[in-house]
């Protein structure tokens, strides 16, 4: 008995020692995630399972979209090549677990920034790359042109695990309408069910509605109602606890937006090095030591602009030119009537 007790004590002590050694070593490093990423040689990025304009894979497996571009920007900054990204398509339900469990390092998947998500579950939102709001799509033939025409008994298709489910309840309750929520795990299943007539309306973020509409059998038979029932600031998320990595992702996004503000594009980035404006020179790495704070070289922001482009280019390429939302709405620079306003890179 005494011997087994001794063995147990020994085992437990060695486990405790091992664990404490490991955590002690972690604290000494600067950014664990950055080191791991550079060692692996690619950025692990969580994206949607297919949302045109945001993150969508074509037939040959190439990912495009504004959410995808953010991950490419992070890869350009940290690894020097925007192509070094491994994409993980995730359902709304899986996304946070994948991030907190360490399966991915950046979640860039049209995810709404809310207090409880930010504070509660080990996540940190680093910014907003698309200002959105929840809306409804209906069949044109129904004659409905406004949410005020909704009646009790309406069935609404949506995704599970989203803020949509909560907003929908708030909305219908405030109007006193009884509704039937039909919640699927994957967006494609929602589209199929709505298309087949299972639901009277399809509700999600308006950008999502515009994008998913293109997947319906007859997109022109459907309209997105004008009302917006919620605020949905969508942005990239990282795990809590690595503030340097958090800063890298935040400033990769900010650099893209600020580059548009100063008119730096992927085409003219190199020539901007000789600009008179110090703010522009800082962004293209010709002045200051901005990258050093993250443990990166000084060309990190130049690489983002050259390889991925500025925010405006990304928006045009992915969302405007594909006909999803040609009008930038609130996602326009603050200098041009939108609400995109980022802290200065200096």
């Amino acid at each position: 008995m005494l011997r087994t007790l001794k063995t147990l004590m020994y085992l437990l002590t060695s486990i405790a020692l091992l664990v404490s050694f490991e955590t002690g070593a972690m604290a000494a490093k600067k950014s664990k995630t950055l080191k791991k990423t550079q060692k692996m040689g690619f950025v692990r990025c969580g994206v949607s399972q297919g949302l045109p304009g945001f993150s969508n894979a074509d037939a040959s497996g190439n990912w495009t979209g504004v959410d995808v571009d953010l991950c490419r920007a992070v890869a350009a900054a940290t690894l020097g090549d925007s192509g070094k990204v491994k994409f993980f398509p995730l359902s709304a339900k899986e996304r946070f677990t994948a991030l907190t469990s360490g399966e991915i390092d950046v979640l860039s998947r049209n995810t709404t920034w809310t207090l409880s998500r930010d504070a509660d579950i080990g996540l940190t939102f680093v910014g907003v790359n698309f200002y959105d709001g929840q809306g409804f799509m209906v069949r044109k033939s129904s004659g409905i042109t406004s949410t005020s025409q909704f009646k009790s008994g309406i069935s609404a298709c949506t995704n599970i695990g989203t803020t949509t489910e909560l907003n929908m309840r708030d909305f219908f309750n405030s109007k006193g309408i009884k509704y039937e929520p039909v919640a699927f795990e994957k967006a494609d299943e929602v589209v199929a069910a709505y298309d087949a007539g299972r639901c009277d309306t399809y509700t999600t973020d308006k950008s999502g509605l515009a994008a998913q509409r293109t997947k319906l059998s007859k997109p022109d038979d459907h309209i997105v109602l004008p009302e917006t029932i919620s605020k949905e600031p969508l942005g990239p998320v990282v795990r809590q606890g690595d503030s340097v990595w958090e800063d890298i992702v935040r400033w990769s996004l900010n650099v893209m937006i600020e580059a548009e503000e100063y008119g730096i594009t992927s085409a003219n980035a190199d020539s901007m090095k000789s600009s008179e404006n110090p703010a522009i020179k800082r962004l293209v790495g010709a002045e200051g030591e901005l990258g050093a704070a993250f443990g990166l070289d000084n060309d990190w922001s130049l690489r983002i602009i050259k390889q991925v482009g500025n925010y405006g280019e990304s928006y045009k390429r992915n969302i405007a030119d594909t006909g999803i939302l040609p009008d930038r709405g609130p996602n326009q620079l603050w200098t041009k009537g939108g609400i995109l306003y980022v802290p200065p890179a200096r």
């Binding site: 080990g122 409905i144 309840r169 087949a196």
Partner: protein, 372 residues
Amino acid sequence: MLTLLFVVSVIGFFTINAQLNMDERGIDFGFGFLNQESSFDVQFSLIEYDGSHSYAKAYLVGLLNTILVSVLGIIFCTIIGVIVGVARLSPNYLIRNTAAWYVEFFRNVPLLLQIFFWYYAALRALPLPENTEPLFGVTYLTVKGYYIPRLIWENFDILLYSILAAIISIVVIKNYAKKLQEEKGQQLPVFLISVGLLLLFPAITFVTGMVQLKVALPVLKQLSKTSFIYADGISVPPELLALVLALSLYTATFVAECVRAGIQGISKGQKEAAASVGLTPNQILKLVIMPQALRIIIPPTTNQYLNLTKNSSLAAAIAYPDLVLVFAGTALMQTGRAIEIVSITMLTYLTLSLAISLLMNWYNKKIAIKEK
């Protein structure tokens, strides 16, 4: 002792490891969230529930929906399974081969694919509510659900008592019939008497006006220019229909094989001996073959019931709000309590499976050979 030590240290290591990682990532652990307001609605619920209730209640909603689909699935797969199992031994070439084809086809196609088939291909082919012809006069099978009349009972408890009284008298009569046969060799038509009593007792309560029944028929209601539903009746969601259909058709193939094995496991001599003492074919099946075959059938069939219950978690794929979709899906997402919720869900499935297995083991023991 060494094994115990090993198990304890492995569990200890996992716990410490999880704890450390959760601390590092700023995730705390606790079950307090169960009392919080869930603030999401569920499409279909057996108990009264909306988003103002707690997560604990949402859990209950999911659990009951899982139990509902499992119970329905088990009932239907048993009925279909027994019929097909017996049909596979039929002397009729057509019946025998149809049953064989059915078994080979349905058990060799993945279940998830079958669920998708019934939901997207079969049920989606149904008409919209406004174009639906009534089925059985008062029910409507549409793409938005199966609408059936709602029964409104008055003094429903009296009806239950009358059924209870009928069951008690059936037991008494059965015992009397057994005694009569043992003592005088006379046989009473027990089955007919039982059915008669079961109909007679509730009928009396209706005739005397103690129990009243009103029926609310589904009525077409217009929501917008082209959108209709049926109001007033009960709507059975198409997700439930598809799931029960897929689960019972799939599991029935395995049950059928169990039944066939059970019947074939009884030697021919038993049947011939029973016939030679003058029993009718019905009596042979009921008194000689089945009691012996059941001993072979029950244990593997229990496995199939357990499989069906666990397979019901595939419901999440087609929006049927079962435990996995409601609790391990939406609730997990809204609270972010992955470890807590997944462990509760796992424990729940474990408990459900153990309960089914206990029940079946009890039944198995009851019909087993009693050595005297």
